[in-house]
Subunit: 419 residues, 2 copies
Amino acid sequence: MSIFALKGNIIYSESREKLCIVSNGYLVCEEGISKGVFEELPEKWKDIEVKDYGEQLIIPGLSDIHLHAPQYAFRGLGMDMELLEWLDTYTFPEESKYQDLEYAKKAYEIFVEDLKRNGTTRVCVFATIHEEATILLMDLLEQSGIKGYVGKVSMNRNSPAYLCEDTPKENVRNWLDVVKGRYRRIQPILTPRFTPSCTDDLMEDLAKLQKEYHLPLQSHLSENPSEVAWVQELEPESSCYGDAYDRLGAFGSNGKTVMAHCVYSGEEECELMKKRNVFIAHCPQSNTNLASGVAPAKKYIQQGFSIGLGSDIAGGASISILRAMADAIQASKLRWRLLDSSWEPLTFEEAFYMGTKGGGAFFGNVGSFEEGYEMDALVIDDEELRHPQDITVKDRLERMIYLSEQVRFTDIYVSGKII
Amino acid sequence: MSIFALKGNIIYSESREKLCIVSNGYLVCEEGISKGVFEELPEKWKDIEVKDYGEQLIIPGLSDIHLHAPQYAFRGLGMDMELLEWLDTYTFPEESKYQDLEYAKKAYEIFVEDLKRNGTTRVCVFATIHEEATILLMDLLEQSGIKGYVGKVSMNRNSPAYLCEDTPKENVRNWLDVVKGRYRRIQPILTPRFTPSCTDDLMEDLAKLQKEYHLPLQSHLSENPSEVAWVQELEPESSCYGDAYDRLGAFGSNGKTVMAHCVYSGEEECELMKKRNVFIAHCPQSNTNLASGVAPAKKYIQQGFSIGLGSDIAGGASISILRAMADAIQASKLRWRLLDSSWEPLTFEEAFYMGTKGGGAFFGNVGSFEEGYEMDALVIDDEELRHPQDITVKDRLERMIYLSEQVRFTDIYVSGKII
């Protein structure tokens, strides 16, 4: 039986308000599962191996619950456009390239390396419609040690011909058959692109597959005003965008479901999300870059919605979830000041919670160091962030969120193993 | 006579709209001054030394026209507060430490190194009220090769006793006497902190000194609603915040002047800024972090105001002006979406202009490669930003703005010399 401890300045969230900090503490891990964090190593474990990281910070691994792997190639490009124009100009042409496995390999290798380098230990990723390239991405992620879900995208309307599937249902089944039992760390997730790209039949088929295969499902919801208006046109019988998924069974009623954005979700849609326990992937940088707006993350978090962070590559240019924490706080401040002062800005404790335990919940007991959680941990060297004065461990965490590009990951653990 | 050329992918702004890109071009520099950019090296210069940087990018040096050197120590801390609370809790206590020269040395060495490492070649910096520490900062900046202005802060009211000067005018004179003729690259700038910290007498004295010594002046303007209301209370006879400076002669009528923020400048204040050619230091990250709001930078730039970027350390946590360009675009998008759709978001060309030629204008012919400009240049290695497809030089510039933390400066030139 494998048991060991990490020693360092340990920080994790118990809840959105409660940040736990144990300076020079011990995080005990047995068979990949946390046994808890302790100020002194308990007597019964006095002989286990202790890996001493000195003054370094130890935080839970980061969860990115919404991003598009094929879009990583054009991150930071064409950012002067809104969603629908940007999809036509950049996204769709780039995604078509992934029918070429050689190109896909080149692109996905860069993506997976950078993802790992940024401390993301759990992901929920969109691939493209291409089965082979999707499997290649899953293979690469499995090899990297990162855990999570990858979705072959399904789409059959309102898209360029080269991205419209003729037999979308069969394509998903084929893909599911090939990946069945193939991985230890990576699992498939059903991925209707969004309502405008999927006929009612396709959406219903995917909902049925979700039930049959016990799979999670991911999609997009209420990101941009023009998109919301378009969905209303396409699905006049639905009372809101969320209902367009729900009445076809693709809104949590058939299994675990995550929806990205939720910037423009009205009261009814929110009630439906709550009722179906739909996860919200809050993607602040993407919503800013595409001038979509700012989701009311403070409301969601205070009202007990399930919510985590997404980099939403390439709506978001940065793949770092630490950066996404700062982005979330910053966007919430402008939302408060410019739009709606009834919801105060997010605190940094709340942003940290969303990027660790909040998003981690989509994967099970993930994103905290409480007893029973899978031991995903980042050991962080923040020495480059020099300062002339003494600062506390909590200060170091806040600073690291704002200046995440200057920290270095000494070690990254997933389920108790260094990756 | 020293003349040489740099070869690489050269990018610079001619105007806010016009970005000039010369792939594999030549930037010719004579005695520290640009002779222009050429696709082929002109015949008359065929024998000069050419430093070939291959596929690297060459852009003008960056100008940071508003930041506080002593606040660098607490960048990224206490960001869950608004301006006035944050000043009392973090800023004033930290600034008081700079009476201790040993502490100042430790802090300012870190500051100057990081400033240089981020490609900032021109600065307009606030120090503290302390003359000795201010001179130390000027010495360190002079040694670094960076050029610009440093201001001993003046303040004598509404501040903690330890930061209120009894003889502010004499203190400034003493400081000016010591630094006179001491530097080649660094010059003094008069620095009333902001209206709430300066009595009318002090402000008037500084305006007179500005005229007498032919010095520039820097301060803050209309950053936060509570601050604006406070100024109205303190200066009831002024028609607007800008007028509170102007009627005392400290708003450009006695020399070159830069005001940070201008988030809440109304019509009258804008007219006054235009009339006096007051420079605007747009500080998007700071205005976001302190939940101040978003300045109408698009309006300022389109209406021909003089405008550049400021990191506003430590309201802004990041000292990078490339990052400030992305921040400016992002903030303008949320302003457009959430507050006022009459001003479109900034384009990346406009943000690049502000961070180079726009802010550079405060220092003279700085921030471009047009003939006659001082040759400040950054040679940039963006190889870490890997991509599977071919992308243009313009795309590489846009990507670099969004992911600036991942680029490396191969060489930094100020007035034709590597620093």
